[in-house]
């Protein structure tokens, strides 16, 4: 039996993240720890379940991809080492690796600058928001 597109993408997310979403026991600790919980439409613990259920289209459209701060609070606290932040990152990369998938473009930058913006902010945003 051949894999559906969604199954293939779920497998890609598992490979890019190096995480095993099947280990999740749905305790919700990741979402309880997440500083961006209120900004997210799909919460970190739900994100993991969506991958388990091959529900990738919804993830690809989720604004959570751009609201995760990469703070690793969820990674630190997950009792099952699922590393939810890495799952979010892998879904984001799946989107960005497609042609036209970048969330931030070099032409956008001048309008976003002020005199104090540290180089670190630019390189970090570039690395997380585009490939």
């Amino acid at each position: 039996m051949s894999l559906t597109m969604a199954e293939k993408q779920a497998e890609q997310i598992r490979q890019i993240s190096g995480s095993d979403p099947y280990k999740c026991m749905k305790c919700g600790k990741c979402s309880a720890s997440c500083p961006s919980f209120n900004e997210m439409d799909i919460k970190p613990h739900q994100f993991v379940s969506y991958v388990v259920n091959d529900n990738i289209e919804a993830l690809a459209e989720s604004k959570s991809l751009w609201k995760c701060l990469g703070c690793f609070a969820c990674v630190e606290r997950c009792p099952r080492d699922v590393q939810p932040g890495r799952v979010v990152d892998a879904a984001r990369q799946l989107v960005e690796r497609q042609r036209g998938g970048d969330h931030l473009h070099a032409e956008d930058i001048p309008a976003l600058l002020d005199d104090d913006v540290p180089q670190q902010l630019l390189v970090s945003a570039f690395r997380r928001y585009r490939r």
Partner: protein, 265 residues
Amino acid sequence: MKYSYYPGCTLKNKAQDLDLYARRAAVALGFELVEIPEWQCCGGVYPLGTDEIASKLSSVRALNYAKEQGQDLITLCSACHHVLKRVNDDMKNVADISDRANNYMQLDAPYKGETTVVHFLEVLRDRIGFDELKKKVVNPLTGKKIGAYYGCLALRPGKVLEFDDPENPQIMEDFIRALGAEPVIYPYRNECCGAYTALEDKNIPAKRTKMIFDSADGFGADMLITACPLCMYNLNKSEADSKVPVYYFTELLAEALGVKEGVEQ
């Protein structure tokens, strides 16, 4: 003692104070920061994808340079420290990443994570010792109530960074005590400031930094210290009523050691 020093891009530009005061303090404390020649930017955030090799190579080059010098690699920026420690862990423990990076780089000898990466604060704690630091303080910051703002990248994931207990750190509080000031412990000291979302969604750092200042101010802090230029930026941009001044930890260190106006290394 000589260290291979990895300053990072921001310390050469918007965060020059973090670098300058560290160099002055190092002279006073008797260790040497030897800047790695031709270091390349680490990218600010660790490339999380297991198949991302190219974006880890700038870190590997710096790590390998330190190995060839027989020196430990020292960092000041929380983000550089985070990225270099995690890439070093990959080179040591993740065969796939290590093999592919080495195959590409073709170094004289493969790099296998031999270098020890230390943050400047770890050198103060583990090599100099906070008791020794205290003895070298000539201008104790007596009466100042200082909140340590750790943020996230210095601490997490704790298993790889091994900087301090990620849930209840104390290295910066011990540092503050060594300078003669009083540390203020407040709940939001290791909560994220909003990070890179500042570029396109200012609301997130606005909310995060308000919570951080409210928390610190509520526990009586007169000022905060940080090791991260992005934390510094986000905190400085905050419009919270509870805002207090924020300093790089190295500035207070140089002040306490009496070398704030001193000669550079």
